[in-house]
Subunit: 184 residues, 2 copies
Protein backbone atom coordinates (compact mmCIF):
# COMPACT_ATOMS: atom_id res chain seq x y z
CA UNK A 1 0.00 0.00 0.00
CA UNK A 2 1.28 3.36 -1.06
CA UNK A 3 0.20 6.94 -0.70
CA UNK A 4 1.07 9.68 -3.14
CA UNK A 5 1.19 13.42 -3.32
CA UNK A 6 1.85 15.55 -6.35
CA UNK A 7 3.08 18.73 -4.83
CA UNK A 8 1.00 21.85 -4.75
CA UNK A 9 3.65 24.30 -3.60
CA UNK A 10 4.75 25.30 -7.05
CA UNK A 11 7.24 22.51 -7.61
CA UNK A 12 7.01 19.69 -10.07
CA UNK A 13 7.52 16.74 -7.92
CA UNK A 14 5.82 13.55 -6.95
CA UNK A 15 6.26 12.10 -3.49
CA UNK A 16 5.59 8.45 -2.76
CA UNK A 17 5.24 6.70 0.61
CA UNK A 18 5.21 2.94 1.12
CA UNK A 19 2.39 3.12 3.65
CA UNK A 20 -1.08 4.61 3.62
CA UNK A 21 -1.83 8.14 4.75
CA UNK A 22 1.65 9.49 3.96
CA UNK A 23 3.50 7.22 6.41
CA UNK A 24 6.56 5.00 6.09
CA UNK A 25 9.48 5.25 3.68
CA UNK A 26 9.32 8.42 1.60
CA UNK A 27 10.73 8.88 -1.89
CA UNK A 28 10.68 12.07 -3.85
CA UNK A 29 10.99 12.51 -7.61
CA UNK A 30 11.46 15.82 -9.37
CA UNK A 31 11.71 16.88 -12.96
CA UNK A 32 14.74 18.57 -14.42
CA UNK A 33 12.72 21.27 -16.07
CA UNK A 34 11.25 23.72 -13.61
CA UNK A 35 8.14 25.04 -15.27
CA UNK A 36 4.97 24.46 -13.36
CA UNK A 37 2.66 25.40 -16.22
CA UNK A 38 4.30 22.86 -18.48
CA UNK A 39 3.47 19.88 -16.25
CA UNK A 40 -0.20 19.77 -15.38
CA UNK A 41 -0.26 16.06 -14.59
CA UNK A 42 1.78 12.89 -14.25
CA UNK A 43 0.98 10.01 -16.56
CA UNK A 44 1.61 6.85 -14.52
CA UNK A 45 1.98 3.27 -15.66
CA UNK A 46 1.49 -0.15 -14.15
CA UNK A 47 4.79 -1.55 -15.48
CA UNK A 48 8.29 -0.14 -15.94
CA UNK A 49 9.09 1.58 -19.22
CA UNK A 50 5.68 3.27 -19.47
CA UNK A 51 3.88 -0.03 -20.15
CA UNK A 52 0.64 -1.55 -18.90
CA UNK A 53 -2.39 0.21 -17.52
CA UNK A 54 -2.22 4.01 -17.74
CA UNK A 55 -3.67 6.71 -15.54
CA UNK A 56 -3.17 10.42 -14.95
CA UNK A 57 -2.42 11.86 -11.54
CA UNK A 58 -3.52 15.45 -11.23
CA UNK A 59 -2.06 17.64 -8.49
CA UNK A 60 -3.37 16.62 -5.09
CA UNK A 61 -3.27 14.06 -2.33
CA UNK A 62 -3.90 10.35 -2.75
CA UNK A 63 -3.85 8.81 0.72
CA UNK A 64 -4.46 5.18 -0.31
CA UNK A 65 -3.82 3.14 -3.45
CA UNK A 66 -7.57 2.95 -4.06
CA UNK A 67 -7.46 6.70 -4.61
CA UNK A 68 -5.14 6.58 -7.60
CA UNK A 69 -5.50 3.10 -9.03
CA UNK A 70 -7.81 2.91 -11.98
CA UNK A 71 -11.09 1.08 -12.03
CA UNK A 72 -12.73 -1.95 -10.56
CA UNK A 73 -12.48 -3.55 -13.97
CA UNK A 74 -8.84 -4.43 -13.53
CA UNK A 75 -7.44 -4.71 -10.05
CA UNK A 76 -4.18 -2.80 -10.25
CA UNK A 77 -2.03 -2.46 -7.15
CA UNK A 78 1.24 -1.18 -8.43
CA UNK A 79 2.61 1.84 -10.21
CA UNK A 80 6.04 1.15 -11.68
CA UNK A 81 6.87 4.14 -13.88
CA UNK A 82 5.75 7.70 -14.34
CA UNK A 83 6.78 10.86 -16.13
CA UNK A 84 5.75 14.49 -16.28
CA UNK A 85 3.58 15.51 -19.20
CA UNK A 86 4.15 18.51 -21.42
CA UNK A 87 1.07 19.90 -23.07
CA UNK A 88 -0.39 22.96 -24.69
CA UNK A 89 -2.55 25.47 -22.90
CA UNK A 90 -5.64 23.36 -22.47
CA UNK A 91 -7.85 26.13 -23.80
CA UNK A 92 -6.21 25.55 -27.17
CA UNK A 93 -6.49 21.77 -27.03
CA UNK A 94 -7.84 20.20 -30.21
CA UNK A 95 -8.37 16.58 -31.17
CA UNK A 96 -10.20 14.71 -33.93
CA UNK A 97 -11.79 11.36 -33.11
CA UNK A 98 -12.73 8.70 -35.66
CA UNK A 99 -15.25 5.89 -35.52
CA UNK A 100 -12.99 3.41 -37.33
CA UNK A 101 -9.28 2.68 -37.30
CA UNK A 102 -6.91 4.44 -39.73
CA UNK A 103 -8.79 7.75 -39.35
CA UNK A 104 -11.89 6.52 -41.19
CA UNK A 105 -15.65 6.66 -40.58
CA UNK A 106 -17.62 9.21 -38.57
CA UNK A 107 -15.48 12.11 -37.34
CA UNK A 108 -15.74 14.38 -34.29
CA UNK A 109 -13.81 17.56 -33.44
CA UNK A 110 -13.07 18.05 -29.73
CA UNK A 111 -11.94 21.18 -27.90
CA UNK A 112 -13.60 20.75 -24.50
CA UNK A 113 -14.26 18.10 -21.84
CA UNK A 114 -16.88 15.45 -22.65
CA UNK A 115 -18.13 13.36 -19.70
CA UNK A 116 -20.37 11.53 -22.18
CA UNK A 117 -19.60 11.17 -25.90
CA UNK A 118 -23.06 9.66 -26.54
CA UNK A 119 -24.61 12.82 -25.04
CA UNK A 120 -22.71 14.99 -27.53
CA UNK A 121 -24.22 12.98 -30.37
CA UNK A 122 -21.46 10.44 -30.95
CA UNK A 123 -23.46 7.48 -32.25
CA UNK A 124 -21.21 4.72 -30.94
CA UNK A 125 -19.66 3.55 -27.69
CA UNK A 126 -16.31 3.25 -29.47
CA UNK A 127 -13.60 5.51 -30.85
CA UNK A 128 -11.04 3.61 -32.95
CA UNK A 129 -8.48 6.23 -33.96
CA UNK A 130 -7.41 9.67 -32.75
CA UNK A 131 -5.49 12.66 -34.05
CA UNK A 132 -4.38 14.94 -31.19
CA UNK A 133 -3.59 18.25 -32.89
CA UNK A 134 -2.67 20.01 -29.65
CA UNK A 135 -2.68 19.36 -25.94
CA UNK A 136 -2.82 16.16 -23.95
CA UNK A 137 -5.99 14.17 -23.37
CA UNK A 138 -7.27 11.36 -21.23
CA UNK A 139 -9.88 9.01 -22.67
CA UNK A 140 -11.97 6.70 -20.50
CA UNK A 141 -13.76 3.49 -21.25
CA UNK A 142 -17.05 4.45 -19.59
CA UNK A 143 -19.04 7.71 -19.22
CA UNK A 144 -18.13 10.01 -16.34
CA UNK A 145 -14.38 9.30 -16.68
CA UNK A 146 -14.75 5.75 -15.33
CA UNK A 147 -12.94 2.56 -16.28
CA UNK A 148 -9.65 2.19 -18.11
CA UNK A 149 -7.83 5.40 -18.97
CA UNK A 150 -5.72 6.07 -22.05
CA UNK A 151 -3.38 9.04 -22.44
CA UNK A 152 -3.07 10.74 -25.83
CA UNK A 153 -0.57 13.51 -26.53
CA UNK A 154 0.12 15.69 -29.53
CA UNK A 155 3.85 15.19 -28.79
CA UNK A 156 3.75 11.38 -29.04
CA UNK A 157 3.29 9.50 -32.34
CA UNK A 158 3.03 13.01 -33.83
CA UNK A 159 -0.38 12.93 -32.18
CA UNK A 160 -1.64 10.13 -34.43
CA UNK A 161 -3.05 6.95 -32.96
CA UNK A 162 -4.48 4.85 -35.76
CA UNK A 163 -5.46 1.62 -33.96
CA UNK A 164 -6.29 0.63 -30.38
CA UNK A 165 -2.95 -1.15 -30.15
CA UNK A 166 -1.27 2.27 -30.53
CA UNK A 167 -3.21 3.89 -27.72
CA UNK A 168 -2.85 0.78 -25.58
CA UNK A 169 -6.39 -0.41 -24.96
CA UNK A 170 -6.35 -2.77 -22.01
CA UNK A 171 -9.90 -3.76 -22.81
CA UNK A 172 -8.63 -4.87 -26.24
CA UNK A 173 -11.50 -2.94 -27.75
CA UNK A 174 -12.10 0.61 -28.89
CA UNK A 175 -14.60 1.27 -26.09
CA UNK A 176 -14.25 4.98 -25.23
CA UNK A 177 -17.21 6.93 -23.80
CA UNK A 178 -15.66 9.99 -22.15
CA UNK A 179 -12.74 12.27 -23.00
CA UNK A 180 -11.22 15.25 -21.23
CA UNK A 181 -8.25 17.53 -21.54
CA UNK A 182 -5.40 17.13 -19.09
CA UNK A 183 -5.65 20.52 -17.43
CA UNK A 184 -3.27 22.31 -15.22
Amino acid sequence: HTSLCTDTRGEDRIVVWDEEFFQGRRQEFTTECYDMRAFPGWPCFEHVGFQGQQFVLERGKYPRWEAWSGSHAYHMERMSSFRPIACANHRNSKMTIFEWENFLGQKGELSDDYPSLPAMGWGSSAVSSFHAHSGAWVCSQFPGYRGFQYILECDCHTGKYKHFREWGSHAQTSQVQSIRRIQQ
Copy 2:
Protein backbone atom coordinates in the same frame (compact mmCIF):
# COMPACT_ATOMS: atom_id res chain seq x y z
CA HIS B 1 -24.44 -8.19 -11.55
CA THR B 2 -26.31 -5.63 -13.55
CA SER B 3 -25.75 -3.74 -16.74
CA LEU B 4 -27.18 -0.32 -17.49
CA CYS B 5 -27.84 1.92 -20.42
CA THR B 6 -29.04 5.49 -20.35
CA ASP B 7 -30.60 5.87 -23.72
CA THR B 8 -28.99 7.91 -26.44
CA ARG B 9 -31.85 7.97 -28.92
CA GLY B 10 -33.36 11.17 -27.68
CA GLU B 11 -35.47 9.68 -24.90
CA ASP B 12 -35.02 10.12 -21.19
CA ARG B 13 -34.94 6.60 -19.99
CA ILE B 14 -32.71 4.28 -18.09
CA VAL B 15 -32.67 0.58 -18.88
CA VAL B 16 -31.43 -1.99 -16.39
CA TRP B 17 -30.58 -5.66 -16.95
CA ASP B 18 -29.96 -8.22 -14.20
CA GLU B 19 -27.02 -9.77 -16.05
CA GLU B 20 -23.80 -8.39 -17.49
CA PHE B 21 -23.51 -7.17 -21.06
CA PHE B 22 -27.20 -6.27 -21.44
CA GLN B 23 -28.49 -9.81 -20.89
CA GLY B 24 -31.21 -11.26 -18.66
CA ARG B 25 -34.30 -9.57 -17.26
CA ARG B 26 -34.77 -6.07 -18.61
CA GLN B 27 -36.49 -3.18 -16.86
CA GLU B 28 -37.07 0.22 -18.32
CA PHE B 29 -37.70 3.46 -16.48
CA THR B 30 -38.78 6.69 -18.10
CA THR B 31 -39.47 10.17 -16.86
CA GLU B 32 -42.80 11.86 -17.21
CA CYS B 33 -41.35 15.04 -18.60
CA TYR B 34 -40.03 14.67 -22.10
CA ASP B 35 -37.25 17.21 -22.43
CA MET B 36 -33.89 15.78 -23.29
CA ARG B 37 -32.01 18.97 -22.50
CA ALA B 38 -33.45 19.08 -19.02
CA PHE B 39 -32.00 15.72 -17.97
CA PRO B 40 -28.30 15.49 -18.66
CA GLY B 41 -27.63 12.76 -16.12
CA TRP B 42 -29.18 10.39 -13.61
CA PRO B 43 -28.14 10.74 -9.98
CA CYS B 44 -28.14 7.21 -8.55
CA PHE B 45 -28.07 6.06 -4.96
CA GLU B 46 -26.99 2.96 -3.10
CA HIS B 47 -30.12 2.76 -0.95
CA VAL B 48 -33.82 3.42 -1.55
CA GLY B 49 -35.11 6.94 -0.95
CA PHE B 50 -32.00 8.60 -2.46
CA GLN B 51 -29.81 7.56 0.47
CA GLY B 52 -26.29 6.17 0.74
CA GLN B 53 -23.46 6.48 -1.75
CA GLN B 54 -24.20 8.79 -4.68
CA PHE B 55 -22.99 8.72 -8.25
CA VAL B 56 -23.97 10.26 -11.56
CA LEU B 57 -24.68 8.22 -14.65
CA GLU B 58 -24.09 10.15 -17.82
CA ARG B 59 -25.64 8.95 -21.07
CA GLY B 60 -23.94 5.81 -22.33
CA LYS B 61 -23.45 2.11 -21.84
CA TYR B 62 -22.33 0.44 -18.63
CA PRO B 63 -21.90 -3.26 -19.40
CA ARG B 64 -20.86 -4.39 -15.89
CA TRP B 65 -21.41 -3.09 -12.38
CA GLU B 66 -17.71 -2.17 -12.17
CA ALA B 67 -18.42 0.39 -14.88
CA TRP B 68 -20.90 2.41 -12.86
CA SER B 69 -20.14 1.64 -9.23
CA GLY B 70 -18.08 4.27 -7.53
CA SER B 71 -14.58 3.76 -6.26
CA HIS B 72 -12.41 1.07 -4.81
CA ALA B 73 -12.67 2.89 -1.49
CA TYR B 74 -16.09 1.49 -0.75
CA HIS B 75 -17.19 -1.68 -2.46
CA MET B 76 -20.70 -0.88 -3.63
CA GLU B 77 -22.62 -3.51 -5.56
CA ARG B 78 -26.14 -2.20 -5.61
CA MET B 79 -28.07 0.75 -6.90
CA SER B 80 -31.47 1.03 -5.23
CA SER B 81 -32.87 4.39 -6.32
CA PHE B 82 -32.33 6.96 -9.03
CA ARG B 83 -33.95 10.03 -10.46
CA PRO B 84 -33.48 12.36 -13.41
CA ILE B 85 -31.70 15.63 -12.71
CA ALA B 86 -32.88 19.03 -13.84
CA CYS B 87 -30.16 21.61 -14.22
CA ALA B 88 -29.27 24.87 -15.89
CA ASN B 89 -27.37 25.15 -19.12
CA HIS B 90 -23.99 24.02 -17.87
CA ARG B 91 -22.29 27.00 -19.50
CA ASN B 92 -24.07 29.19 -16.97
CA SER B 93 -23.25 26.97 -14.00
CA LYS B 94 -21.92 28.87 -10.99
CA MET B 95 -20.94 27.66 -7.54
CA THR B 96 -19.07 29.13 -4.57
CA ILE B 97 -16.96 26.79 -2.45
CA PHE B 98 -15.83 27.49 1.12
CA GLU B 99 -12.93 26.15 3.12
CA TRP B 100 -14.91 25.90 6.36
CA GLU B 101 -18.46 24.91 7.23
CA ASN B 102 -21.25 27.53 7.39
CA PHE B 103 -19.83 29.38 4.34
CA LEU B 104 -16.73 30.63 6.14
CA GLY B 105 -13.01 30.76 5.40
CA GLN B 106 -11.29 30.85 2.01
CA LYS B 107 -13.74 31.17 -0.89
CA GLY B 108 -13.58 30.04 -4.51
CA GLU B 109 -15.89 30.87 -7.44
CA LEU B 110 -16.41 28.02 -9.93
CA SER B 111 -17.85 28.14 -13.43
CA ASP B 112 -15.90 25.37 -15.18
CA ASP B 113 -14.66 21.80 -14.63
CA TYR B 114 -11.76 21.34 -12.22
CA PRO B 115 -10.01 17.95 -12.32
CA SER B 116 -7.71 19.24 -9.57
CA LEU B 117 -8.69 21.95 -7.07
CA PRO B 118 -5.10 22.13 -5.73
CA ALA B 119 -3.93 22.92 -9.28
CA MET B 120 -6.31 25.90 -9.47
CA GLY B 121 -4.72 27.26 -6.30
CA TRP B 122 -7.11 25.92 -3.70
CA GLY B 123 -4.82 25.58 -0.70
CA SER B 124 -6.52 22.63 0.96
CA SER B 125 -7.65 19.10 0.14
CA ALA B 126 -11.04 19.90 1.67
CA VAL B 127 -14.15 21.91 0.86
CA SER B 128 -16.54 22.16 3.79
CA SER B 129 -19.52 24.11 2.46
CA PHE B 130 -20.99 24.92 -0.94
CA HIS B 131 -23.42 27.37 -2.48
CA ALA B 132 -24.64 26.18 -5.90
CA HIS B 133 -26.03 29.33 -7.54
CA SER B 134 -26.96 27.56 -10.78
CA GLY B 135 -26.56 24.18 -12.39
CA ALA B 136 -25.83 20.76 -10.96
CA TRP B 137 -22.36 19.63 -9.93
CA VAL B 138 -20.52 16.48 -8.99
CA CYS B 139 -17.71 16.72 -6.45
CA SER B 140 -15.16 13.95 -5.99
CA GLN B 141 -12.98 12.99 -3.08
CA PHE B 142 -9.74 12.66 -5.09
CA PRO B 143 -8.25 14.49 -8.09
CA GLY B 144 -9.26 13.33 -11.55
CA TYR B 145 -12.88 12.67 -10.49
CA ARG B 146 -11.90 9.61 -8.42
CA GLY B 147 -13.29 8.31 -5.15
CA PHE B 148 -16.61 9.11 -3.53
CA GLN B 149 -18.94 11.36 -5.50
CA TYR B 150 -21.36 13.93 -4.11
CA ILE B 151 -24.12 15.59 -6.12
CA LEU B 152 -24.92 19.27 -5.50
CA GLU B 153 -27.84 21.04 -7.15
CA CYS B 154 -29.07 24.61 -7.12
CA ASP B 155 -32.62 23.19 -6.88
CA CYS B 156 -32.01 21.25 -3.66
CA HIS B 157 -31.49 22.91 -0.26
CA THR B 158 -31.87 26.18 -2.24
CA GLY B 159 -28.35 25.27 -3.39
CA LYS B 160 -26.87 25.72 0.09
CA TYR B 161 -24.91 22.90 1.71
CA LYS B 162 -23.39 24.21 4.90
CA HIS B 163 -21.85 21.06 6.42
CA PHE B 164 -20.61 17.73 5.09
CA ARG B 165 -23.63 16.04 6.64
CA GLU B 166 -25.80 18.05 4.24
CA TRP B 167 -23.92 16.95 1.15
CA GLY B 168 -23.67 13.39 2.43
CA SER B 169 -19.96 12.73 2.79
CA HIS B 170 -19.43 8.98 2.98
CA ALA B 171 -15.86 9.59 3.99
CA GLN B 172 -17.20 11.57 6.98
CA THR B 173 -14.75 14.31 6.07
CA SER B 174 -14.75 17.33 3.81
CA GLN B 175 -12.18 15.79 1.46
CA VAL B 176 -13.00 17.14 -2.03
CA GLN B 177 -10.27 17.49 -4.65
CA SER B 178 -12.12 17.67 -7.99
CA ILE B 179 -15.40 19.22 -9.11
CA ARG B 180 -17.20 19.26 -12.44
CA ARG B 181 -20.51 20.37 -13.87
CA ILE B 182 -23.05 17.74 -14.77
CA GLN B 183 -23.18 18.35 -18.50
CA GLN B 184 -25.59 17.20 -21.08
